[in-house]
Subunit: 346 residues, 2 copies
Amino acid sequence: MRISLDAMGGDHAPRTTVEGAVETVNETDDIEIVLVGDRELLQKELKRKHYPPERISILHTTQTVQMDDDISTAIRRKKDSSIRKGIELVKNQEADAFVSAGHSGVVMATALLLLGKSPGVHRPAIATTMPTLTGKFVLIDAGANVDTEPENLLQFALMGRAFSKRILGVEDPKVALLSIGEEDTKGNLLTKEAFKLIKNTDINFAGNIEGKDIFVGVADVVVCDGFIGNIVLKVSEGLADTIMKMLKREIADIKTGKIAYMLLKPALRNFKKKTDYSEYGGAPLLGINGTCLISHGRSSSKAIRNAIKLANEFAKQRFYQKIIEELSRYRDILSPQQQPEPVKTT
Amino acid sequence: MRISLDAMGGDHAPRTTVEGAVETVNETDDIEIVLVGDRELLQKELKRKHYPPERISILHTTQTVQMDDDISTAIRRKKDSSIRKGIELVKNQEADAFVSAGHSGVVMATALLLLGKSPGVHRPAIATTMPTLTGKFVLIDAGANVDTEPENLLQFALMGRAFSKRILGVEDPKVALLSIGEEDTKGNLLTKEAFKLIKNTDINFAGNIEGKDIFVGVADVVVCDGFIGNIVLKVSEGLADTIMKMLKREIADIKTGKIAYMLLKPALRNFKKKTDYSEYGGAPLLGINGTCLISHGRSSSKAIRNAIKLANEFAKQRFYQKIIEELSRYRDILSPQQQPEPVKTT
């Protein structure tokens, strides 16, 4: 597979993106990478690195989207950005997937603009993988949509299930709806309606799940509106950071702290490995006509490497077409939004 | 002040509630407590405990609301519950405040039914206190309301500010709106409208805050819809639990783990103290005609003790009347929901 990589995207790009690309081609034998970005900068990063040269190429671009760029301005004014050119490769079938640790809003909007929604999809969604006590779960939507409709949540459930099953290898994924109580009747207007819709399908539906239970591992897929999903993702990230900082401070404050910290190091390393987002690589944007993965802005070379490998997996399976097939099976339930509005007679 | 305590509410009641009450009267000299619940059980718990007997009394009730009781059924069928009788004491001015670690939904609904909303309040809200790296912040609404309107969020901002200022002693509290990006234009329909409303007041408005920043301590008050607030609260609780469990497991798995753990104990104790919800006692239900605090179901005697002391503080200040005064200053902005709907002329 040929992966198009936004080599300029991410807090530590292009160092980490180039490193990630080089590591990937050295570790695998079926992945080819197009580094999209400033040729001069990229060539400098590639210098003195060992890799099979026929498997890494450069597509030169003159513009870079900054993290604080306004989405619509970036799309209008930066037509030669690494994001746009990288996605164009997928559109023109010159690449099988696109990976970016850059401005996620611009990536989403550009992917939607150039590749388009898949037939039958109301709204594409971001599916992110998060660790639990016993494994991991898929959170969908993690921020692509706000103000969603119940039908959107049903589609997120179907897309998330397909991700869990086909990519993460869970046989019959348990899908739950993020809410404020386990009982069927708990929730807001959106989740109460979505609950009924999901219940009426063959989804292995675990019902409502409360925030405190998502990390316990009772559900393989947790479904929610993107506003809430993004807040859950960010709150989790912020809290995990804060807890580790507070713990380190407390450890530094006690007399036996230094020794304890030294003795602890392997445990902290294991913990970090299990909870590190970079292990999961990236979050796919599901429901578009093509494979597109969004990585964390803080991505290390390892995160980039894992994102490329995950993108490769999605592309090999032609996963986005599986989504189309999957959704088409539920056409009867999902039809309302696609039918034209009834003509008003009064 | 006289505090009415739901002595039957909470996972470890009435042991923890009675212990909490006894500890409180022994530590203070201006608090009197009415234990509301089963007289026989409470007398058994009180036996062999030392305390000034004139400061703890019992109001006998024959029913207890269970945690899995349906709210409307509990309200209809359990008219002699410790929750209802406890709140009636406040209504009849036989107590100055009510504290419960029982079924929070039933407490809220009963308080609303018996005490009513304060004049000018659209929707009462739960204000909960959470720890940050440097101190704490107030999250409002933490679960009293779902499907709120922008005006509700403005009222939450005003009530949360009053809590932060008058009870927690923050001089000019920084208020932020929980959203998915810092820019003014980020958010969903609800928060975008609320943003404009809050911006037009004298509130020290920090704008939108992302989930990752709430624990850093940049805002004293974080405002959101109760559906989201409850999820944030529960996700935080669940994640903190999970992180500690994972860390302990990793520590147990390494050779030097036992020694490290022993050396760490004082640090872990300090960490726990700083992050323990029981330090904060309880979450006030703001916007009702009276003082009512909701404690965590898992409340220890210490959590109960801190909740009683916090309730005492709210009652002494007649805080609920301060809310009425505060909201009345914003009558012009807040009027829409209270005016009758305009008559349709077309």
